[in-house]
Symmetry: C2
Subunit: 307 residues, 2 copies
């Protein structure tokens, strides 16, 4: 082994140390003690090496940021603020102590950006590297998937597709240059959460961890309405041209990236006069369709299953 358990715990305790006033008792006792809040958001995600991330595609720091982002996004998508994270990690023993420190720093920096404190964790040995994060947040006014109403518009907090573009570059082993490719790679490796968008007036909301068409279909089903996505609206988003040019350059499909790609962790919301990018309309019916010139476009069905 390149390290002892004590060394790892010392590194984690040092990276995760906090004097946040919400934290009454941090790492070192049987459990952490924190200030609670009236209405809480709870969510957990587990990421496995080779499935959710690849250590040859992403640095430890990027992996840390990415996994924490996925968790925090679930809290944001309930119209919440993230308070606390707990991190349970399995290590193979082949990691270096520096790699572990960088992973912790990535989680810590993403948590800090969201105003969250890492209050505890666990460590175990396994043949497979994995990181399970639990996020605890609070909200005064939760927004569910089920509130979309006919006549609402559909919005994204930012243009999706960048992460899928980055994945395509990595999967094809392309060596790319240019700002668009760099952004795509970065969004795949360490997604940016839009912490500033104000979707508090949304009627329904979800984070786009799978794909706009999957998450939108779930929201439409929960709300007993139909989502119509308008291609023209997406194509009028300022940065669409940049992503489309990258798709042309590397032989990708920009509409697939935007609508069927995953892991952008943008927020998908419905409502009236919301900020963000307008991409469609809520109508009567069921399901989700993509429209151009008032006609439905067929997209290849998309799904993601672990088994």
């Amino acid at each position: 082994m390149g390290f002892s358990e004590e060394q790892v715990i010392e590194v984690l305790a040092s990276v995760f140390s906090s004097h946040d006033p919400r934290l009454i008792l941090g790492i070192g006792d049987d459990a952490a003690l924190v200030q609670g809040s009236h209405q809480q958001i709870l969510t957990t995600d587990i990421a496995v090496a080779g499935v959710h991330f690849r250590t040859d595609w992403s640095s430890a720091y990027e992996i840390g940021r990415r996994i924490a982002a996925a968790n925090i996004a679930d809290v944001l998508s309930m119209n919440g603020r993230c308070d606390y994270l707990l991190v349970a990690t399995t290590l193979t023993g082949n990691e270096s102590i520096d790699w572990i420190r960088d992973l912790a720093q990535g989680i810590q920096d993403q948590a800090s950006d969201a105003g969250a404190v890492i209050v505890g964790g666990d460590l175990a040995r396994s043949q497979t590297l994995s990181i399970a994060i639990t996020a605890i947040g609070n909200t005064a006014a939760p927004i569910r998937r089920s509130g979309a109403a006919v006549g609402d518009s559909i919005y994204l907090s930012s243009l999706t597709g960048w992460s899928a573009a980055g994945l395509e570059i990595l999967s094809k082993g392309l060596s790319t240059s240019g700002a668009a490719a760099a952004r795509a790679l970065n969004e795949y490796r360490a997604p940016t959460l839009n912490m500033k968008i104000d979707f508090s007036a949304a009627t329904s909301m979800s984070d786009v961890s799978d794909a706009v068409l999957i998450q939108g279909a779930q929201m439409a089903k929960a709300s007993h309405v139909k989502f119509e996505i308008q291609c023209e609206a997406i194509e009028s988003v300022p940065e669409f041209a940049e992503l489309a040019a990258l798709a042309t350059e590397i032989g990708g499909n920009v509409h697939d990236w935007i609508l069927q790609g995953g892991e952008d962790h943008a927020l998908l919301a419905t409502g009236v006069n919301l900020p963000g990018l307008l991409i469609g309309t809520v109508v009567e019916g069921s399901g989700i369709t993509v429209m151009r010139n008032g006609q439905e476009i067929k997209m290849a069905p998309v799904s993601w299953s672990h088994f």
Copy 2:
């Protein structure tokens, strides 16, 4: 694969379904929504097949109970009550849907016994089966490891050593009969948490997940005192004779089981006139010693490290 992801989620949602009034919004949205409390206890544990449990030694139901018990015990040891659990599982794909259902039922039953609700989870594929549980509890008066005072007595909520005895039976591949062996196997496979003991007046407390000598040493260090464990006191515990007879029968060391065995999840507490089993005294000094007739007994050093 023996199952689809949808099947597993359906099974888990069915086993974990709850109408508990604290649960505002359960499984199905981006995150769960629950009633919070003023002062909260947060803890997470990850258990890995082959490290923390063996599927050939324990049934899926027992594994579920065992892992949930380990987590809940950390909440109890802070003088807390457990409210919510989140369960993140990695499956290899070789499990049967019945095995997964039994695992979930074990977690669910242990949670129910503690008054806790399972509010969320995640599922991923991995080469290694693992289960990460996060527990969220509340307490009006937390008890830390650091409050032991000279003159306090030392108590156990129940006699430790049964789990270590069960582990020894399984490790040696013994075929045993009799009530003591059956209890030992059961305590290893699905530990019983003593939910009724009232340690709310304790000055310090921890759960014995590693060993009395390890956890006691940590409490002594945090409290700047010395723990003296008295053999005579332990040997006068009514069920000591039964455990000692089992040790004789299978060639084990009963004192090692009680003081150096792990995973009993009994509570170790200090204070004055507490209920439970009196096993020693807090004195001036540092460290932890085992005494007989006023003389220190040397025990083999014990430690548990994953790496």
